[in-house]
Amino acid sequence: MLTTLVRVIKSGWANFWRNKWLSSAAISMVSLAIFGITSLILVNVLINSLIDDLEDKIDVSVYFKLDTSEEEILLVRNDLVKLTEIKGVEYISTEEALNRFKERHKDNEVLMQSLEELNTNPLEASLNIKANETSQYDTIASFFNQGNYQEIIDKINYLENKAVITRLASITKTIRQVGFIILLILAILAVLVSYNTIRLTIYSSSKEIKIMKLVGASNWFTRGPFVIEGALYGVIAAIIAILVMYPLLWYLSPKITTYLPGTDLFYFLQVNLIVLLFFQILIGLVIGVVSSLVAIRRYLEV
């Protein structure tokens, strides 16, 4: 059993080296496929980080009437935090709101003067709410429709921004879905192209396979070397793909960052290098081994 395994591996290795040109062709195709699939995943990472960024900018503010006490607001806040949809709630007191207002409009003298003439703080305290997902703001807004809150709440800006938020939510959802479908289609294409290349390499050995069978080789003894060859294609292709990708991203990532601030693909690659390499080797192995197994089937019937 062990001798057989060693023989199968040896002969797969020998086939691989003696068909250098065919092997290189197959490796380049599989490598391109892996490179393509990984790039698509990176693009998806990019899109997702952009969407996350966008979604993070969405929030809802609830403004309380001027005579509401701080305790009452904090009670509301405690209730809010219990909701599962909530990602975070920030309390902004009237003083804080005033400070922020002044900071924001310090260059606008007319506003500043009129504020000073008022002598009182006209700004309301508010709760700044962020939800886990954009679609959940509706639920959160309806939370405040309960009777006892109505008395202390002045306004909820969600109602004013509702149209924009829902549209944004549907856009981000569509982008994610379309991105995923494109990823899937291109990945399938890449796999099919590699499968066909490996099929051709096996077709070129179809006579050999027949001879092996006529000399008395069992199916597995015949198949084995081709499976090993396929696996070698996959592993080498994966390593080549990452060797090309690393310097490429090192060069491209800063350029992408200038266009899309807040993204750093090279950093992502560095952090996930091992996982990514394992993932690529896995793709390569699956493409190589499964293609060989499927392609050789019809030639074994001798």
């Binding site: 006579k207 050999e208 001879i211 006529l214 000399v215 008395g216 080789a217 003894f221």
Partner: protein
Amino acid sequence: MIIFKNVSKIYSANCHALDNIDLTIGDKEFVSIAGRSGAGKSTLIKILIREEKPTQGQVLWGKQDIVQISNRDLPLWRRQIGMVFQDFRLLPNRTAYENISFAMEVGGRSNQEIERDVPQLLKLVNLVERAEHFPNQLSGGEQQRVAIARALAHRPDVLIADEPTGNLDLLHTWEIIKLLIKINELGTTVILSTHDRDIINGIDKRVVTLEKGKIIKDDQNGKYILF
């Protein structure tokens, strides 16, 4: 002992490759199957090595019916026979040595056995110096000798040669035939199919003549006769 019982092979309604063949081949016999192209020689041999199944009939090897061997057990049967083909059928990516050792690896023989037997086989076919050559570096006659050495690697009881000299010139042809006779004298049954009149007349052994899928003549020390 190989016994063909009532064997027919019908490819289509008007193509009867074999028609009710009854044939017994004894142990250690040298049998030539003669006949023109299309007489059914190749079909007979393909059925014997189970490259094809007959439409009806039995092929007995001892008590075993070759026709009934399952696909799983087929390799075991093929390891009991040696095959030599007109087009040599060597593995192009392996050296002469490796082509022979492959047949032994397939049978699960140990490395020691392989290292002991392959040089002996190469010596038998007189190709010791060519051991590390690939098939495309060998002449036709040399390739066929490698193929014969490979066929013998299993130590088969029967060696089947289907037009083994069809692609060779006269000189190499007799080289191969002499080798087959030598192998037969060493105790292996040899079944040789050929349409070459000179070979059959020169061997002076049993000749079974096929014509349109039927046995029309079966002579000890036979001659090739054209009708």
